[in-house]
């Protein structure tokens, strides 16, 4: 047994040695949670880069998203991680930078293509250092089944009153489930629910910053009202929505059984591939006609450099390319709905993606309220928001109780104005 295994190992090692060409070539390995992007990287991105840099070979090696953070952290600690690592927004990456596991990229050629706002999610709290090259942001809103809307002769709503009137109408008709969302996986309720409709209440960045500064509380009307609205969603969700998972919701919508889908822009590519009807999108409804609208335009993914990588130069060459408009255009069009953060014009081909990205001009963009600083302690505000949002929609907790619990949890460790270091994994 032992010898045969040894032989196998030796054989594999020889194979590996043989397959690498004679000329000195550097191989860069990318760690990412985007299993979904494997084909894009293999077929479009990597060939485009390798054509320009034949001396550098790039391998995209994704991990299942749920295991990514813990697997990456273990590999960085032990020194077996890849050269380039996909960066989660905010604290997860900041903690790695603080542990000196991610390199400082502030001076990387190409970084000047990004505005300070675009870099926020991957910069130190004071904004002085940046450690990942921003790749994409995602937007929230609602998608709808155009065929169903035509059949019922209804229009996308602008205000909240119109929104609920529309839901009533769809429910009365009975052909379609009005809203395709479940609470089983909890994050749908928080991300596509609370963070989707919330910015219109707390006025986007204004409220988010006030919350961090301690000038507002989660029990204030601006923060509690979104919960009250969410509590009204229950009757419009599918039968047994409490046990409906995220893939269930996706399938419910793409199989044409639901009319409206509280969405993230990342769904565009798969939905268009899977649905046999046309899909439209509308903004989170405002409270009164004519109100300024706010949308969640959330930085989602970036690429950083493993500080311990032996291939620093090659990795920086690659990162500079990732910071270029060329990469932005390839990625944005290969993964419609992942919108570039770059400050240069990027041409999008997908019509639905174009429609959604235009919201950036119409409304005030903001990021998800729980991501910056406020989820650094225990209890974790983001996770608590998941549970609270699901509870509120399930009707097992009142909006008031949910808001109070969240604020109490936050108060137990967060003192506005005092610096809280991002916690290392």
């Amino acid at each position: 047994m032992k010898t045969s295994m040894l032989k196998a190992t030796v054989a594999l090692a020889t194979l590996a040695a043989l397959s690498s060409p004679a000329l000195a070539q550097t191989t860069l390995t990318i760690e990412s949670w985007r299993n979904d992007d494997l084909a894009t990287w293999q077929e479009k991105i990597i060939p485009a880069f390798e054509a320009k840099h034949p001396d550098i070979k790039v391998v995209f090696s994704p991990t299942a998203p749920t295991e990514y953070n813990s697997a990456l952290s273990a590999k960085l600690d032990a020194g077996s991680a890849g050269d380039l690592v996909a960066c989660r927004p905010f604290d997860a990456s900041l903690a790695l930078y603080d542990k000196k596991q991610l390199a400082d990229l502030s001076a990387l050629p190409g970084m000047e293509n990004f505005s300070a706002v675009a870099k926020t999610a991957w910069s130190t709290d004071d904004g002085s250092q940046t450690f990942c090259v921003p790749m994409a942001a995602v937007l929230h809103g609602f998608m709808y089944n155009k065929a169903a809307f035509a059949e019922l002769s209804v229009q996308p709503p602008k205000t909240e009153a119109e929104f609920f009137a529309l839901l009533d109408k769809i429910k009365e008709n009975g052909t379609y489930v009005p809203l395709a969302m479940g609470t089983k996986d909890q994050w749908e309720a928080a991300t596509m629910g609370y963070q989707n409709i919330g910015p219109n209440y707390w006025k986007g960045e204004e409220g988010r910053k006030a919350l961090i500064e301690g000038k507002q509380k989660l029990t204030d009307a601006d923060w509690e009202k979104p919960f009250e609205t969410l509590a009204k969603w229950g009757p419009y969700l599918g039968d047994g929505f409490e046990a409906q998972t995220y893939p269930d919701s996706q399938n419910l919508f793409t199989l044409g059984r639901a009319a409206i889908y509280p969405a993230g822009s990342w769904e565009i590519a798969t939905f268009e591939a899977q649905a046999d009807f046309e899909i439209g999108a509308f903004l989170p409804p405002v409270q009164n006609a004519g109100d300024t609208c706010y949308i969640s335009d959330h930085p989602d993914i970036a690429l950083g450099l493993n500080a311990a990588s032996p291939n620093q130069e090659a990795a920086k060459t690659f990162l500079s390319w990732v910071a270029s408009p060329e990469f932005a255009e390839i990625y944005a069009n290969a993964a419609p709905g992942f919108f570039p953060l770059i400050d240069k014009p990027v041409t999008l081909e997908n019509a639905l993606a174009k429609e959604i990205v235009a919201w950036r001009e119409q409304c005030q963009p903001t990021i998800r309220s729980t991501y910056q600083i406020l989820s650094r302690g225990t209890p974790n505000l983001e996770n608590e928001t998941w549970t609270a949002s699901a509870n509120v929609i399930n009707g097992t907790e009142t909006p008031q109780a949910a808001a109070e619990k969240l604020q109490k949890g936050l108060d137990s460790w967060y003192k506005p104005g005092e610096a809280v270091p991002a916690k290392a994994n």
Partner: protein, 307 residues
């Protein structure tokens, strides 16, 4: 054994033990101890320092940790009780049925009954979420077919039923383990014993309870303690079915999922190795108490028949 000369060095004992002890100690025990010892440390002002039992004080005293811990422990006890009351009796019964003499097709039954146990958690999780799904699920359709649709509820999403439902799925998956162990014990009973019983007219159920059960009691004890250890270390099934947050509202949170969130972190929650190690140590102590109870109380009192 006593008649062997005491003075002779018994090297063979060392030879028998050495390989297992070596691999186990180096690859498993030392890394685990390194981790558990972190329970006595924490980070203060950016420095890693020794804090004594502070982490445990926090775990049991600070409601931010203790509420989650006690909730997980209570759920875990319930999870274990259900396994003891349902999984093990079913497992023993199946093994008893399989070992009925002159039964045909045992190999087929044995394979079929064990099938769920060899499945990965990914499959089991996907499978039961699909079967119990209110949207496409088999459960609502089957109940609907017999006019009992009103009996269906989205159990996995309801605080009152989720834990019971997940426990039943776990029982479905793992019933093969007690079945195999008991079956292995039952077939080791020498035929002479059975034949003697049959000559005395002791057959069927009576034979099982009077003759076989006392002979396999040590194995039943073993099954009990393995169920205890397995249940208090359980993690994967809940994780696959209910996610790391063990919803709804933490109603399916058991010690394994609680530990996972603290130690490895989840989403924006960063992993905390120090508090995580404290949770792991607490779990370890609970399991150690159970195993010691088995080793020193149950196993020593059990009458063992050599066959």
């Amino acid at each position: 054994m006593t008649d062997r000369p005491k003075a002779r060095p018994r090297w063979h004992i060392a030879v028998f033990l050495a390989p297992a002890l070596l691999v186990y100690t180096v690859v498993m025990l030392v890394p685990l101890m390194q981790t558990l010892l972190l329970a006595l440390e924490n980070v203060r002002d950016g420095q890693r320092v020794f804090v004594g039992l502070d982490n445990f004080r926090m775990l049991f005293g600070d409601p931010r940790f203790s509420e989650g811990f006690w909730n997980a422990l209570a759920n875990n006890v319930y999870f274990f009780v259900l396994h003891m009351l349902i999984q093990n009796p079913i497992g023993i019964s199946l093994a008893a049925l399989l070992s009925v003499p002159r039964l045909r097709g045992v190999a087929i039954y044995r394979t079929a009954l064990f099938l769920p146990t060899i499945l990965s958690f990914v499959i089991v999780g996907f499978l039961w979420k699909l079967l119990l799904s209110p949207l496409w699920g088999v459960a609502p359709n089957l109940l609907g077919a017999v006019g009992l649709k009103s009996l269906f509820a989205p159990w996995l999403g309801q605080e009152a039923y989720a834990l019971t439902t997940v426990s039943l799925v776990s029982i479905w998956q793992f019933v093969g383990i007690p079945m195999m162990l008991i079956y292995a014990a039952l077939i080791t009973i020498p035929n002479e014993v059975i034949e003697a019983a049959e000559c005395d007219g002791i057959t069927g159920l009576k034979q099982f309870f009077k003759i076989k059960l006392p002979l396999i009691l040590p194995t039943i004890g073993l099954v009990g303690v393995l169920t205890f250890v397995g249940n208090f270390n359980a993690f994967d099934l809940i994780y696959a079915m209910q996610g790391a947050l063990a919803g709804p509202n933490f109603s399916t949170d058991i010690l394994g999922t609680y530990l996972y969130r603290i130690f490895f972190g989840f989403q924006l929650q960063a992993g905390d190795r120090y508090m995580g190690a404290a949770v792991a140590t607490a779990m370890f102590v609970i399991i150690l108490i159970g195993v010691c109870f088995y080793l020193f109380v149950i196993q020593r009192r059990m009458r063992r028949y050599q066959m």
